[in-house]
Symmetry: D3
Subunit: 229 residues, 6 copies
């Protein structure tokens, strides 16, 4: 059962990196509100933003052996995605593993567990989204798998899928959907640029989105506080 | 039942803004330890601090329609306070709504739910206190109310009340109490300034607050570790 | 029962301060993965790092009286460690107490409860690791003890033990173990420096740590994705 | 500021007790989905169900003094509602207080904090809804108030309001609304009885509620799995 | 995008029901420790145990419309599995829906959200595993999908897969794996029966599993407390 | 470092069992509110109550190897206390281990982690207090220790100490303190029996405990609601 899948097909690097232009909220909306990991996945420092192809790792709780195995499967532009088979907030990942990944051009780490050496990771500029920060060490005793489909923080992800992460969280785009979603992001962004301009000029969303009639039809009532006080 | 109250009386803007000089802890103490929201309300960036008059919004879970409705009711110096009728950590609020509020001079947002586009909100300098950060989108289907009394993060708040928020959390001051509480803040701060000086000079709180007798009366014992080792 | 132990023996200040050179993860590993507090203990600002001798305080829930008592027992280089007898996230500690501790040369605070005046603490550069941030005030009514053994955030700690804290969390080193653990930290760091260099040069942990044989023996299988697609 | 309001007007006992016939879900729906406490309020034993008039208590964290004060204000048919001013999961209430309340005909306790002596409370048949169970003792040092408006587990409640509680949680009905809400409960229940019968007979909600057209209009598509497999 | 897949192939009913003989722990172990939902999924009453074929539902947060749609797709022996697209602890499901499902022979409900009318569900003997209990109502406004792959409480599940649930939690067995896993359950149970007998007779696991040599080889030391006291 | 201490001195069995007569709340109070584990430690079935001498186990996260080792160290009347070195909610303990412990006369299990086979444990009448229930399996790879001092759910415990557990939680009594605490329990219970009788007869705690003067002195005010309505 424990297996390492090599030479996994990935989303094209240029496609993956094009997602850098869009925030996680935009990507999530563009694909019909799908693909989002749970909101407990937080970046270890403000301002971090990445997009890349997923190398997935299924690890035993409090055991980081397979992360060491996964490094070899990573290449430039990848994002490592680590999902333990049951919850542990131990620190599965630290500065030495980050050095190893950075040397291969990996963009960052997404892990539904803890990381450590945060000070060093910040100094290196190696971005991590995790569900915990903990100095607790892990063991290297139990096999897991690399590049198999996993569920990470509530989201299904296959190797080679796009991972986009910023301060709002982490979103997965299926490899086969990447081009289409990218196009939808572009369109959404273009539309929002126009809306933004009008809102900044003081126009109301109520008017701009034409909400007043629907609100009235549903029964929303306006009452003047001063007429009864 | 869903209603928008317009022309709500508010605390005077100069009074509200005078609270900017005091931290949330001071304001909370000054009013007898009342008015504090739960500690899970956190600012999206360090150093944020606001004070203003509340425009309140009661929204359905994962539905941000009424926030769009509320924008129109906001004016310069207000703080938007959003309370869902049941918990959801979805992202009810993002950069476009912030543009709209900023255009009207709104000071910031307090929401017992999630927000998104955090990177953009930080770039805009639009402060938010929320119970979650999440890219998850919401719908616009269910009516709620604007400028009705709500409970937000465990605190009762009426429209027009003062909202004070900083890195320690969020505190509500009743409109009718604002002047009195402001005066008590001033007095507390003046008193603390003197205490601070003495403590910085090395004087002990034990002496300064005259605690030694009470401690002794209650039975506190001192024992020298070296006399028994 | 409530007692203040005075003149507690402490780890030597030079020994304690030598731990500043090592992260919490290293210290925790060096002592066989012991001494770590729970990962919910977080610093109030990024980059904070301290090491010092523990002055311990056992306080009643939502009552900070004994912290005032403990100040007098602190000296240059100490770290105050506060453990409530049952959970409360109230703000037991703020800027005035910090002034008092700073005046005595105390390095920082570790508290399994809330703190307040975060903005001021940051401005002062007084580091705190806490399980909550809250403006909620506390009372001064119930006695507790100073410099007795306590359990803080799941870790046993005696007065005079070493406390090391950074962005990864908080770790306790027993006073009697301090020299030995310090030596182990040095050795670990030296070893890691060499590993780091090789990993940065692109060498794989799999080879460097000699994992391939063990993985194979345990039954790890490699499968080429392209050979079956 | 600390005050005990005596002789509080209450909802009529017969009105309050009529709510016993309806579950919390029905009452909550009947009043437009209002009045519900947070779902972390759980009964200490299965099958408990009460309805009565609220005697409210605002207590300091980990301090149960005011509960002792409140007993005197309770009469037959009342429900004691306890809200600490900040969170503590200590055991504010145990068997002796329950004996005292039972002797006065009090129906049960609702407390956003911990209770203890659960075995005895179950044996007595004294129902409690709480946010925690804990043996931790509390002190009697700080004043609070009895029969003032409080926020308990996220719900606003005034003395004399109706409290309805069962295995689904706790719901508050405003005293002035009690008759109207009771009538709506009756109507809702009558309507549901008919629906229940038809559903039990195998009729589909889709047809019974006439949902098919709206679903189709919104764009719901049906696809046969066997036609493409 | 919102779609209802009809006539989904399912695991055979006799196969599914054969899992009733095995606990969730056994099933989970038999398939290499896979398929388990998160431990926050709890039964609403003790002793509940079910096994059946999954009908899956993806719903919007706090919106139960698609559960009404899903009822029609259920048949005798099925288990309804409901996964919201983002977290809400509202009560999506109550007694009327349970009547409708029971009328169709559905075995029970698994939902990563809240349920209500618990007293009635218990009285009916309709078992539910949920992440919350809450009287909070939901809306019927947003489309979702029925019988699409979902992630429920951290586990991937396809329509037609086996769902096994008991007091230990909920486990998913892939349809294609069902026969094989069932056989492994039988073997595991047979083996455990023999072990149980020997353990009950007082034999030690240390001997029975032959652990002593491995423990010694790893360096476990035995020390007699009395020889040094 | 991993060690098994054999022949640990224990509290006398008759002393330990005498604690069965007192609830956890009483024991905790009798020893000055000390020794309580965190309130997240819950029994797997209602009504469970045990008292016995602790055999302590320190285990690696998600690794139950040392529990197998500990069985041999248990004797009639003992309680097994398991503390992982970092958090995992996996199911470390199930029915086979319970058979083994029951065969040796062990009273029950206290574990700051998950257990499984709950249905079987209940059927056997083998009581467990745990911080989780989960079917998740664990490994047997990493050594730990038996009968060393541990921190379990926030409480310090040494081998041979008394463990008392009931529906209110779990309390530890130091071996050397057992006789004294037992005597205090007896006195407390006797005193409470008299108080109970008077409260049941309708006397008020306010009078019985003589609180009225202290309340008045502190400034508690009584106000009649009817005089101002």
């Amino acid at each position: 059962m424990p297996v390492v899948i090599t030479h996994c097909p990935r989303v094209g690097r240029d496609v993956a990196e094009s997602f850098m232009a869009y925030g996680v909220a935009t990507v999530h909306e563009a694909q019909g509100r799908g693909g989002l990991m749970a909101p407990f996945m937080r970046p270890i420092y403000p301002g971090a933003r990445i997009a890349g192809a997923a190398v997935t790792v299924s690890v035993a709780p409090a055991d980081n052996w397979m992360i060491h195995v996964a490094v070899e499967q990573c290449r430039k532009g990848d994002v490592l995605v680590v999902a333990p088979t049951s919850f542990s907030d131990a620190g599965y990942f630290g500065e030495l593993l980050a050095c190893s990944l950075a040397a291969r051009g990996v963009r960052g780490l997404v892990i539904d567990a803890g990381v450590r050496d945060v000070r060093d990771l910040v100094a290196m500029g190696f971005p991590v989204w995790s569900s915990a920060v903990s100095a607790q060490g892990t063991v290297k005793e139990t096999l897991g798998s690399v590049n198999v489909p996993v569920v990470c923080a509530g989201a299904s992800i296959d190797p080679g899928d796009v991972v986009v992460a910023d301060e709002d969280g982490v979103c997965v785009v299926r490899r086969a959907e990447a081009d289409r979603v990218l196009q939808l992001c572009r369109e959404r962004e273009a539309k929002e640029a126009k809306v933004r301009e009008r809102l900044q000029a003081g126009e109301l969303g109520l008017d701009l989105y034409g909400m007043r009639d629907k609100l009235k039809a549903r029964g929303l009532v306006y009452r003047d506080a001063t007429s009864k006080d």
